[in-house]
Symmetry: C2
């Protein structure tokens, strides 16, 4: 797989375009997308030709779909891929079967990371998980992935769904708790940045320990009911936040009793 | 307040001892604690005399209690503090009134950080919140705090309780979600470190944005019910985790609808 067409112009497409451009021996032939302004922007930044018209989709060994989950089936079914080309999507929560069976070589290349416009990430540190419609193609995809990242593993659609679910807990839900923390701080007239050293240290020590359950602190794991009652009184006007408080405190207490 | 006796020998006491020792013009006279082995260890590391016998508690301008929440009232009531000495505790969730009124100058110095044995933290970056039994003492404590950290603010017991509650959401509960993510990953036979780049980036982008609610991603904020149903099926054997999933997904969806 020496040449690639990238389909999509969002944050993941941007990160992939930059990572592929840095790989020697792999040619990024074209960036195809429906958002003309974003395609032009990515094309200008990377020097790769942009395209918005399916009739002018370039020929390539591999079409890499970095588009929203919902757009995968329709794009994969409608784009005029060349005969024998491989088509790969990049979604954690979407099975291989979202790609039509008439495409002989189908696959998935899932980067376990969150991508934000304007934020650079070190692609070589992102774990990449690959799946192929046959073992030989999976091997080829794995080789490609190893040129983009130091951490590559195979994961079928079931295993990838577990990974995606773990990411929802450790990324999406964590970010929401940051947002709740920010809201509580606003009630004390303090900016979110007050929490920055605590947030950084909490992440760093969980990672350094390799076992966050062992690093659990706070009133719930201590069984400190006095503090918990005080917190519930502070949340009396916010039953929605109290429900989150109760659910997580109870689970921390139950699981700490099981493991200790 | 030129000289201090530190009471306690846990992780916070260790960080405070090291930070005070680095301050010129402030003398750390003694480290007092009930755990003889830990007191000896801190004493050896810092070169400050250790003490475990209340009868030999040194005279000082300020006694700084870095002990567990539950130990504060009993220690503050029983230790033979010198006449006119100031006594300050360091707990986020405990009011000033935990210190007996017969101590004329009472206060709180609350560092918004999580402390772990063996992990160095940059004390100068930790937000410190001070409260005093009178305005003049609060001012003295504030001056002391400014020598230890670049971020110092006053917070009475009510405001400090809000801060402590925000920290429970953004630190204790976040760490528990890391633990849940680790557990889900174990189900896919992958180590927790797989999530490290994602965890680091989630924290970094929330902090850089200053507004984590605006950075929310994932199936809940997208209203992607197909993925959510898939995740709930994966959690069918774990109603405890499904409850956390439901509670947080529903709250993300409700709050995103309010703010967007």
């Amino acid at each position: 797989m020496k040449n690639i067409v990238l389909i999509g112009s969002g944050n993941l497409a941007e990160a992939l375009a930059e990572a592929i451009c840095r790989c020697e021996g792999i040619e990024l032939r074209q960036i195809f997308g429906r958002n003309a302004a974003r395609v032009a922007e990515l094309s200008a930044r990377t020097g790769i030709p942009g395209c918005t018209d399916p009739a002018h989709l370039a020929a390539a060994d591999l079409y890499l779909l970095a588009v929203s989950d919902a757009a995968i089936p329709q794009l994969a079914a409608s784009l005029p891929f060349g005969e024998g080309a491989a088509v790969v999507h990049t979604a954690g929560g979407i099975g291989l079967e979202a790609l039509p069976e008439r495409i002989a070589r189908r696959g998935v290349l899932y980067p376990l990371q969150t991508f934000t416009q304007g934020r650079q990430v070190d692609f070589s540190r992102i774990p990449l998980f690959v799946e192929g419609s046959d073992d030989s193609f999976a091997g080829e995809l794995e080789q490609l992935a190893r040129r983009l990242s130091r951490t590559v593993a195979r994961a079928d659609s079931t295993r990838r769904a577990q990974l995606h679910l773990a990411a929802v807990f450790a990324c999406n839900f964590v970010n929401h708790l940051y947002a709740v923390g920010a809201e509580v701080l606003r009630g004390a007239d303090l900016p979110f940045e007050t929490l920055a050293p605590l947030i950084e240290e909490t992440a760093a020590k969980a990672i350094a320990s390799g076992d966050p359950a062992r690093m659990q602190t706070g009133p719930a794991v201590r069984g400190d009911l006095t503090t918990q009652q005080h917190h519930r009184r502070l949340l009396a006007a916010r039953p929605d936040l109290e429900r989150i408080y109760e659910t997580l405190s109870e689970h921390i207490w139950q699981t700490s009793r099981k493991t200790s």
